[in-house]
Amino acid sequence: MFLTFPIMVIRVNTVENVVEWRWKNMFLIGIGSFFLSFVWRYLIKKRDEGTKKSEFGETEKTPLIQRILKERKIFIPTLIIVSVFALVFPFVFSLYQTNIMITGLIYVMLGLGLNIVVGLAGLLDLGYVAFYAVGAYSYALLNYHFGVGFWAVLPIGAGMGAFFGILLGFPVLRLRGDYLAIVTLGFGEIIRLILENWNAFSFGPSGIANITRPSLFGIEFSVHNATIYLYYIMISLILFTIFVVNRLQDSRIGRAWIALREDEVACQAMGIDKRATKLTAFALGATWAGMAGVIFAAKTTFINPASFTIWESIIILCIVVLGGMGSIIGVITGALVLILLPEYLRAFSEYRMLIFGGILVLMMVFRPGGIVPDVRRTYRFEGIENNHRNNRK
């Protein structure tokens, strides 16, 4: 780390502008990097000690959040508080807040969808936003040309997402992890570029406006009520998503995903159809992106290709990584933190992506498990362990 220190100071030079010389910035960054390098060294040392400890068999204490989940006494009241809060939210807070919350919830949904692909099946998908775009555009176009309503398109959008997921997944899932990342990234960009250039089909960069908001059995709402209505749709869809993902996780296919993530060769030896399993993960993930896309289009009533850039994919990836790959509660916290915090901290909005980038690196280095790491279902046979301990003594 001593070696990097001089570089960190020299790095400052790029900040100087052509016309104005910003010596002050240089000075600040110099001091900042000096202290940061010490913090970094300390953290690395601590981390290495931690790994050593776990190698010697000392297990870490279960974190607070997992204890809440485990013990019913604490878990049920928390659940009730959270759900009451979720229910009264639109009546207590303003329309603006509700709108932000809907955005947050859309990202929760996207995060949960991507979590199936990245967290459970271990396939790094950098083109996830393509499926989101597919969903949004299928609603926008169907609505524009044929006047089809929200509820009719929701399953169609989901289906379109799944269809594109399979379309892409079929050829590329033979590839190894990092190639897959690049190809999906390429796919995401292809979709966006097509939407931008194919004017006759998607109205190009100008996008589609005046998409109708969802209605309940033909009753049209005012803007205010429609937002609240959308909020409740979102909450129920999230609940549905959580239910599905939760059931999937412990099902045969969910376990096959986790096993595939850990070791492909061993999986094939155990008779898991690698391709079909990966394909289902891909398609299911894409389904959720498609649904989220439909809701996004209904919420903003205007879409254009600029909403579906690669950075959107990376934000969603950030959510999953930050929250903890594979853990549902982690992803929900991750999404709410990452989407809501920037909304309330408008002053720092310029630095948002910078911080996201930093967070990705720091999380990977120091806490690969995320804020709320996934707890794997483990089976422990107490007897043997006790014997072991006795023998050791």
């Binding site: 780390m1 070696l3 990097t4 570089i7 960190m8 020299i10 790095r11 030079n13 790029t14 900040v15 100087e16 502008n17 052509v18 910035n25 970094w40 690395i44 981390r47 271990g122 790094l124 950098l126 050829p171 590329v172 033979r174 590839l175 992890g177 990092d178 190639y179 990342a181 690049i182 190809v183 990234l185 390429g186 796919f187 960009e189 292809i190 570029l193 097509i194 250039n197 070791d263 492909e264 060769v265 061993a266 690669i310 950075w311 990376i314 990836l317 990584v321 310029e350 630095y351 992506m353 910078l354 996201f356 980038g357 930093g358 967070i359 990705l360 690196v361 990977m364 280095v365 690969p368």
Partner: protein, 300 residues
Amino acid sequence: MEYFLELLLGGLTRGSIYALIALGYTMVYGIIELINFAHGEIYMIGAFTALIVASVLTLQGWNHIAILVIASIAAVIYSSAYGYTAEKLAYKPLRRAPRLSALISAIGVSLFLQNYVLLAQTSDFLPFPSLIPEFKFNAPYEHIISSPEIVILITTTVVMILLTFLIKFTKLGKAMRATAQDREMAMLVGVDVDKVISFTFIVGSATAALGGVLIASHVGQINFYIGFIAGIKAFVAAVLGGIGSIPGAVLGSLVLGWTESFFTGYISSDYEDVFAFLFLVFILIFRPAGILGRSETDKV
């Protein structure tokens, strides 16, 4: 015919710049099997450093060639420093972690550097001074191949030759090849693996920086976003030639440069990037190991 020749040479120039960037990808991948997402950003930083140095020196009234040389040297030094730092901070602690973590970390670095430049500099396109003078002897052929293109071709060739020499005949090159083959074994026979990996990052970043300077003075403008597309395309080129193989990277870059050049020249320029990506998808589907690559079987 002349149009064809123009496209051919244009493709060659394009290809050689991709090659300069692709070399870094392929070298890093060859040694630690990591797709260095931040590589495109290193290239962008190279271009920015050169821009800053060049404009400062222009204000001082230096002559063109001196500016070009100093700017390139500065770009190479800074980019190498960034490459080295990125490796130390973001990849080295993850050497034993699963590959997915390193990849995500690389994406993080890329995002960080991009926004760092965006905030520290500007989000607009900056004009890049054309530093390369017009050669007198080239005047009659100016409409087919411009002087900057000649400089690009010569530089690329020289860099390739130097790099081949470095890897084939020096002790360090030997150590690099050993590390690529089997890291643990290399460690056992006394190769300082960490040093070799750092060195690979430095060399890769330096070539990328050269590419950055050259392309920036050729195209004439840069912004913080150029690294992304260039990085992806160079990656396509590296995969096309067989990732991990250095002659493969060069070959792949030239093929990609030509196909793009002819595609935009004869068909349409709207879908140029779409085409590059589609090309990548098809290569990976039909020949995942690339033109010169060997296919590997999974080991338990």
